[in-house]
């Protein structure tokens, strides 16, 4: 079981970063974004496109390849692109919908449609092949009491640092406070001199950048597929709900827990030979926890940020 803890932490950090992003967007805009998974995948696919030295395997863009940029630079560019993409989604699609006072359920369905649409664009452009970043294979090393490759360990540390930074940003900066204000009441925020539209745009951009980063983590730890974001989306929702909807700190912890549940459950005796069913245990546990704590682990009393 301990063997699986390292894997659990790695899956957990992916889900955690993606959950914080989802939760941030939800709490400020009230949008349940099913296209979140596609933004996750965009991060990984764009990093692959920038970094692959042989053939980016992104058709129609292959005339630009091989770009073969340094991996870290590629990842950085991909995160920026995800932010731009999220910003455009808000400007072109979600802001006009909001101004037209389209209801939350209709917007939810729009995000589902968007998700299917973008995912199949990836299928066309990036093909259905399972791909990997051009990184050397590494041997696992023992850290404290869990095993992982040094690269994955760095991903874990990077994820933790990013989340600490997000926490500080939300708690102490003007932007963070303004996000919390818009979350509580957009109208009230605007009479306090806050430009809600601007704050929502910033939220879309930062949420999408975080989602893209989670996708890159996923690509490094596992692999890259056109539907990688969709595959992990349910676990991301689970992490968000488990932590308490709309609390960033809850999403961090909830995401980590879901990742650990999923991987650790592989080691349960009754799971032998049924590893493909590992998500079931984690999601079942989530339901049980919610029965006893409906508001999620950090819901309600816990201060947001």
């Amino acid at each position: 079981m301990i063997d699986q803890l390292g894997n659990g932490l790695l899956l957990g950090i992916i889900i955690s970063v993606a959950s914080v992003a989802l939760s941030l967007l939800y709490s400020v805009t009230r949008i349940v974004n099913f296209a979140h998974g596609e933004i996750i995948a965009l991060g990984a696919i764009m990093t692959l496109f920038f970094s692959n030295p042989v053939d980016s395997r992104v058709i129609y863009l292959d005339r630009f390849s091989p770009l073969g940029l340094d991996f870290v630079i590629s990842a950085f560019l991909a995160v920026i692109l995800c932010g731009v993409f999220g910003g455009l989604l808000e400007l072109i699609l979600f802001r006009p919908l909001r101004k037209a006072e389209v209801g939350n359920i209709a917007i939810l369905v729009v995000t589902i449609g968007l998700s299917i649409f973008i995912r199949h664009l990836y299928l066309i452009f990036a093909t259905g092949r399972v791909q990997n970043f051009p990184l050397e294979l590494e041997r696992r090393v023992t850290y404290l009491f869990f095993d992982m490759t040094p690269r994955n360990f760095r991903v874990l540390i990077a994820g933790i640092i990013v989340m600490v930074l997000i926490g500080l940003l939300l708690t102490f900066t003007r932007i963070g406070k303004a996000m919390r204000a818009v979350r509580d009441s957009g109208e009230l925020a605007s009479i306090s001199g806050i430009n809600s539209d601007n704050i929502i745009l910033i939220t879309w951009i930062s949420s999408s950048m975080l989602a893209g980063l989670a996708g890159i983590f996923q690509g490094v730890i596992n692999d890259i597929r056109y539907n990688m974001g969709f595959l992990i989306l349910l676990l991301v929702f689970a992490g968000t709900v488990l932590g308490g909807i709309g609390t960033s700190f809850g999403a961090m912890v909830g995401g980590l827990l879901i990742g650990i549940f999923v991987q650790v459950s592989v080691a349960f005796p009754f799971m032998e030979g049924h590893i493909e069913a590992k998500n079931a245990v984690a999601l079942g546990l989530m339901i049980v926890i919610l029965l006893f704590r409906p508001q999620g682990i950090f819901g309600q009393k816990e201060r947001i940020s």
Partner: protein, 256 residues
Amino acid sequence: MSNKLLEVKNLKKTFGGLKAVDVEHLSFNKNELTSVIGPNGAGKTTFFDLVSGFQQGDTGEIYFKNKKITKTQPYKISRLGLIRTFQLTKVFDRMTVLENLMFSGSSIKNDSFFQSILNTSSSKKYESDLEERAFEIMQDLNIEKMSESYARELSGGQKKLLELGRSLMKNPDLLLLDEPLAGVNPKLAEDLLEKIKNLSDQGITILMVEHNIEAVMKISERVVVLAEGKVIAEGTPQTVRSNDKVIEAYLGTAHE
């Protein structure tokens, strides 16, 4: 230099076939406490929404401090010093009372990203000044015991007090109060009324929508009566009280 703080010309707003607001001309002077009264559906709240930028009029112009603010976004109007409250009290639910006040009082300039991260001495000074001001206001409104409570835990009346406090943190030039006494017990209503009067005496221009006629007549220097979106009377409480049109449209039915 004119004494007008807010001026409204030819302001019209219709919803479907219904004329919600149809005001030819209205102006409000500095330091004056004016009440807007009228039967339900007279367009009082819509008038506030138009002035504070939450709705756009079909036609007409609005001037605040001689600046045209028609079609200006609410956050910009707020930054000019025109602060409103809402009929259904709004607070930042998941912030404490103190946070509510401090957030409302902070200005963009003095709250930069780097200062808050680095915690420079100037930002510390700014924060402590803000906190001091927040405590003064809380003491004045008798809510300092609740400074650490989340705003969502407050009672309706306490939320009204917090809302007033939050507006004061912004040092407004013009304060629009939308039914500040609604749903408040008589004792608190009396206190609130006195607070509002004090604010007016301190030099804040106040424009208030209120259904409690006795209260309105007691503290207002000027009363504007709306009915079906139109101004049917305006003047001192005494003149308005004896105006036939007003009695017919409003007070008459209310006193039957």
